[in-house]
């Protein structure tokens, strides 16, 4: 053996190495590529503030399309009553992100139907009280729960003035990738955050509403439809006395 390098052997090793590396990395690259059908082009920004306008004058009594739309989108309809549970008790324990409420004015007796959900406050009490910071507000105004750090203490449910949150009381057999959930954590409407992160411009409840009572959009963009509608006519913030500056506004109540 002299100091001469065996070139062929060296080439073989480098080609084999490259092939091995490619076989490890390639599937990841390709899988990643398919998963990112709609690439996330920009980070979440505080220039945007997502919100909703609900026109209760368009909301029809007895209709709950928004509720079923939300439940299908976020996999809430996949939850099954645990064996042995009392149906009435279970109904109080199963989660809802949106519900219909009918209210009567104390003075005039006027009856109004409306959907209620997380109001996506600028200053959310649920965020204030959460000991671990699991209850948080994204810079684009979406209030949601980090299910990795939620310890299930339910203090946020005590603190929410809109009773918008639900606790998962049972084991979960089936769930959607876009809406992961597990027993013992709290959750609530997140304005279909998966759609936000994948370029969607509507929410499931808005899509489901045949009467056009729900309008979703960017409150900060003066040219957005929601901003224009909010400017056009008076709107109401629920529990305005608490000065939480909600992202969900109502018309007609």
């Amino acid at each position: 053996m002299s100091g001469k390098v065996d070139q062929r052997r060296r080439e073989f090793v480098s080609v084999a190495g490259l092939a091995a590396a490619a076989s490890v990395v390639a599937p990841g690259v390709f899988l990643q590529a398919t998963a990112q059908a709609e690439p996330r082009s920009a980070p979440v920004s505080s220039k945007t503030r997502y919100g909703m306008l609900i026109d209760t004058t368009k909301c029809v009594d007895g209709c709950s399309d928004c509720v079923s739309g939300c439940e299908k989108e976020n996999g809430l309809d996949l939850l099954k009553m645990p064996e042995g549970a009392d149906p009435e008790e279970w109904d109080r324990q199963r989660p809802r992100w949106i519900r219909t409420v009918k209210v009567k004015d104390r003075l005039t007796g006027t009856v109004t139907s409306l959907p209620m959900m997380c109001q996506h406050c600028e200053f959310p009490p649920c965020q204030d009280v959460c000991p671990t910071g699991a209850s948080f507000r994204r810079v684009d105004g979406i209030v949601m729960v980090d299910r990795h750090t939620c310890i299930g203490c339910r203090y946020c449910m005590m603190a929410c003035p809109y009773k918008a949150r639900s606790f998962i009381h049972e084991d979960i057999d089936e769930k959607l990738t876009i809406a992961p959930r597990g027993k013992g954590c709290v959750e609530s409407c997140n304005l279909c955050v998966h759609r936000r992160d994948n370029g969607g411009t509507t929410t499931a409840c808005q899509d489901a509403c045949k009467h056009g009572a729900i309008l979703f959009g960017d409150l900060n963009d003066p040219n957005s439809e929601i901003a224009q509608e909010l400017r056009r006519q008076n709107n109401t913030e629920l529990r305005a006395d608490l000065k939480l500056n909600t992202g969900v506004r109502y018309r007609g109540i």
Partner: protein, 405 residues
């Protein structure tokens, strides 16, 4: 004042182990109940999306509040220099730590994700009073342990007054934190009041004293140690004064609420129309929990009997549990004013339709978990007095207070 000697609790072994075995059964059943709830999820409890804190929280908060109160007896000795209370300090500190541990266990085992306790220890949101309470509770255990050490170790005795002061201030902050869990909730009519914090402090004085009195009488009686009537008389008088102080705070709380129209519906709910909550408030909390024990301890004849003092202490404790039930559950059962100028006439999520209270039927598992927490507190105290020199050999009046007559 004669020198006071302390000795381990000397009751016969079979009796001691027998007591621990009984407590052990409750402890084991409580543990199994916690496992059952954790395994299945909270659907097996009576808690739901409306009443999110149930009986476990009633037990946990009662024990935590009583813990800080149980430390008062020691604090009277070191902070206010009451010599008569000094001899009572060791048991006071031990009881305080034990009650806190029992309460915390119940609280933690009721979490939706109890295994994520480590998250609560590593991720903090400092705007949350809950996060602060984690520090306050852990700090309390450490500070009281040091305080107890300064009482027991002669070489550390020069730090005793400082440790006592720190422990006393800390316990006041701790109960402020516990009361503020409710005081800081702006959403609910029954909470959102600054008076919650001082009210919880005064409640802690009463509940801590009641538990302390029972524990003192129980351990001394079983071990045949003399307990001076004069000393007992002072402690039971304090219990009566603390009960009166709780009554005063309850009165101020409700009178303040009654003044503002916005709270009238809530007040009507608790004081008149709330069904079980109204009954519990008047009969359990006010009558049995405060007025009757006050009547007993200040009664010229009854107040001097051991039976009377035991009955009064038990009633104050019962009243304490009822008070927590009215505050924690009653406060949630009253529907939130989501539409102050409107009445909810239909809802897909039990929003208190037509002002009806929200439904809660506690399950046996919740009670068992709570009782398990009480068993932990009692067992820890009894193990403490057995292995450490916490109990004075004698608390005869001539020994603790020679000038009593």
């Amino acid at each position: 004042m004669k020198k006071i000697y302390y000795r381990e609790w000397g009751i016969e072994s079979p009796r001691y182990w027998g007591i621990l075995a009984v407590l052990g059964v409750f402890l084991a059943v409580g543990g199994l109940a916690a496992l059952y709830m954790e395994h299945h999820g909270h659907w097996v409890t009576g808690m739901n999306n409306e009443i999110v804190w149930g009986v476990p929280h009633v037990f946990a908060i009662f024990l935590i509040v009583a813990a800080s109160g149980a430390l008062n007896i020691a604090a009277f000795g070191s902070v206010f220099g009451k010599k008569i209370h000094k001899s009572l300090g060791r048991l006071s500190a031990m009881l305080a730590m034990s009650l806190l541990v029992g309460g915390l266990l119940v609280l933690v085992l009721d979490l939706g994700q109890p295994t994520r306790l480590i998250v609560a220890m590593t991720e903090y949101n400092f705007k949350s009073i809950f996060a602060w309470n984690i520090f306050l509770y852990v700090g309390f255990l450490v500070i009281v342990a040091v305080y107890l050490f300064t009482m027991m170790e002669r070489k550390a005795s020069k730090y005793y007054p400082t440790a006592g002061l720190v422990a006393f201030v800390w316990r006041l902050i701790l109960t402020t934190g516990t009361g503020s869990i409710f005081g800081f909730i702006v959403a609910r009519q029954g909470y959102d009041a600054a008076i919650m914090a001082p009210m919880f402090i005064i409640m802690s004085f009463a509940y801590g004293m009641a538990i302390y009195l029972l524990m003192l009488m129980f351990t001394f009686k079983l071990d045949g140690r003399p307990l001076g009537e004069k000393l007992l008389g002072r402690l039971k008088n304090l219990l009566g004064i603390f009960a009166a102080a709780v009554l005063y705070f309850v009165l101020v709380y409700h009178l303040t609420n009654l003044y503002g129209t916005e709270n009238h519906e809530y007040e009507a709910f608790i004081l008149r129309d709330g069904g079980i909550y109204t009954t519990l408030f008047w009969v359990g909390w006010i009558l049995l929990g405060l007025l009757v024990p006050m009547g007993i301890v200040f009664h010229p004849a009854l107040g001097k009997t051991h039976g009377g003092i035991i009955a009064a202490s038990l009633l104050v404790i019962l009243g304490g549990f009822v008070a927590m039930y009215v505050i924690v559950i009653g406060g949630q059962a009253f529907p939130m004013a989501m539409f102050p100028d409107k009445v909810i006439i239909e809802s897909g999520f039990y929003d208190g339709v037509n002002g009806q209270p929200l439904h809660y039927a506690p399950s046996i598992w919740e009670f068992l978990l709570g009782v398990g927490g009480v068993a932990v507190s009692l067992a820890a105290t009894l193990v403490g007095v057995r292995v450490l020199k916490l109990l004075p050999v004698s608390l005869e009046d001539e020994i603790v207070d020679p000038y009593h007559s």
